[in-house]
Symmetry: C2
DNA sequence: CGGACAATTGATCTACCTCAAAATTGGTGG
DNA sequence: CCACCAATTTTGAGGTAGATCAATTGTCCG
């Protein structure tokens, strides 16, 4: 499968224009034709971190972007690529990962609508990991030069985006703690807490239910565990009525117990409200 | 032990002025009195990433900074602090870590001269981890406002510092791969490769020898291993003549084999030369 | 010389892995 | 609506990397 940005394949590689994922969980349907308003999800996201002036909002809204619908399991940028654009996730799920020699891989982060998973490519020119969709996704591509021009005109936006990448690093550190120092049960609980809150922040989760369209193999690659062990720990959580994961959606049975079991402290997410 | 920046203790907490670590391994002795030229180590470091103009160099050199000598094992900033300054390491070693409830801790990164380990505090106002010295160290404190003023006047410096924090995140990802998907032997080898190259880049290592004044407990906290296991793996490496760690200094017996065993690819460090 | 700390070694235990087979799920075409 | 397929999940059995506990040795330094 070819990376999109590296540009080796375009047509036959299967972007379905017009075919959109079914709108779910309060997510508004997004037209596949380039739509300036689609960048509102970015504005919304940034306003959860800092307040924006009218000029800043307008400047973001008028960023030139190309919207695409991508199939599940498709690489957006590849390890080694030198992309000239960033990717804003409008709908669907994506992840960043790195493939190792022996077939092993490590997933670093999961991404949901409003995220710019490869924002770092703005300043680090060669990718040292890959970015791929997990589900069918709608993404908007924004040229680096447009973003660079934007942050030159609005230095405050530069600071906000910089902060975004710092939050990203904070999440990596939290992830590291999990992998290095928590039991399988704890780190899994921790991941569920994080994802639930992040989804809630962009309006994709409520009343302790949220989409989680991720296979157990992928969970394992993220948490440094085997799929077999993921299955066993999930069973245990189910039996304790902590969480249930079925049909791509997660139900949290006991939030307080879950956070306690995970040793979860949400401050590293830097969510408002 | 009290954090320096949180300011709860100053006098009795024991900063020794004038007492300096013995200069070793080609490291020039640094006067303990505040010395403007000391910021040259930062200039040197930044120039390993990008070239600087004369004005930029001068602006950095004239940053107001307060230099201190700190004892080993002393917190510089604490989890929860809201520092108003950043810390540039001039000599010695430091690490960032987070303490967990049950007495466990995870070390995220080791820092060497030229690093600004808490650069992120410039935009993330509350620390979500701690920073501490590992050895006696000389550090320069620079007020946030001075740095903010600097990057406002020189936007290119902002981009360079931003890039620094992105490199930081890249190192976290590499660390995660190790903890999640590599054996104890591999990840330890990987750490040694990383540290050797970073030290070499700032002139603190040559001919496969470098200082590594870190206890086995600290190595374990960084790699997610017990100190006992660290000892055993070190023994194995010693027997295979890969590396020897004695008296706070590391000797690499077979660089090529070491990198091969570690699956080490140095590009994520973004070192020039 | 003595005391604190760091490293080593031995013995035992366990969380998680690997391999392999069975059961479940979801999508597809007839 | 059912039958079928591939992908995913579940369960079982046995193996291992690395943890824990505890005692010994080595090192540094006042």
């Amino acid at each position: 499968m070819a990376s999109i940005i590296s540009g080796s394949v375009t047509g036959a590689d299967g972007w379905e224009r017009g075919a959109l994922p079914p709108a779910k969980q309060g997510e508004a349907a997004i037209p596949s034709a380039p739509d300036p308003r689609s960048l509102d999800v970015l504005i919304c996201r940034l306003e959860s971190i800092a307040s924006l002036s009218d000029e800043e909002r307008d400047a973001i809204r008028s960023l030139p972007a190309k919207t695409r619908v991508l199939k599940p399991g498709q690489d957006i940028v590849r390890d080694g690529d030198k992309p000239s654009q960033c990717c804003l996730l409008l709908s669907g799920w994506a992840c960043r990962y790195k493939q190792l020699e022996n077939g092993r891989r490590q997933i670093f982060s999961f991404h949901i609508p409003g995220d710019i998973p490869d924002l770092q490519s703005l300043h680090i020119h060669t990718m040292n990991h890959s970015l791929a969709t997990l589900t069918e996704s709608t993404v908007a591509f924004i040229q680096h030069e447009s973003l660079l021009d934007l942050i030159e005109r609005f230095p405050r936006l530069a600071a906000i985006l910089w902060r975004e990448t710092l939050n990203d690093a904070a999440a990596f550190r939290e992830w590291m703690i999990g992998i290095g120092r928590r039991t399988a049960f704890e780190r899994m609980a921790h991941l569920f807490c994080e994802l639930y809150l992040r989804l809630q922040a962009v309006g994709l989760a409520r009343s302790y239910r949220c989409p989680l369209p991720i296979t157990q193999v992928e969970l394992g690659d993220a948490l440094g565990l085997s799929n077999v062990h993921i299955s066993r720990v999930l069973k245990e959580m189910r039996e304790q009525n902590l969480v249930t994961l079925r049909g791509g959606s997660l139900t949290i049975g006991a939030w307080d117990e879950l956070t306690r079991a995970a040793g979860f402290d949400p401050t590293y997410l830097h969510l408002e409200k």
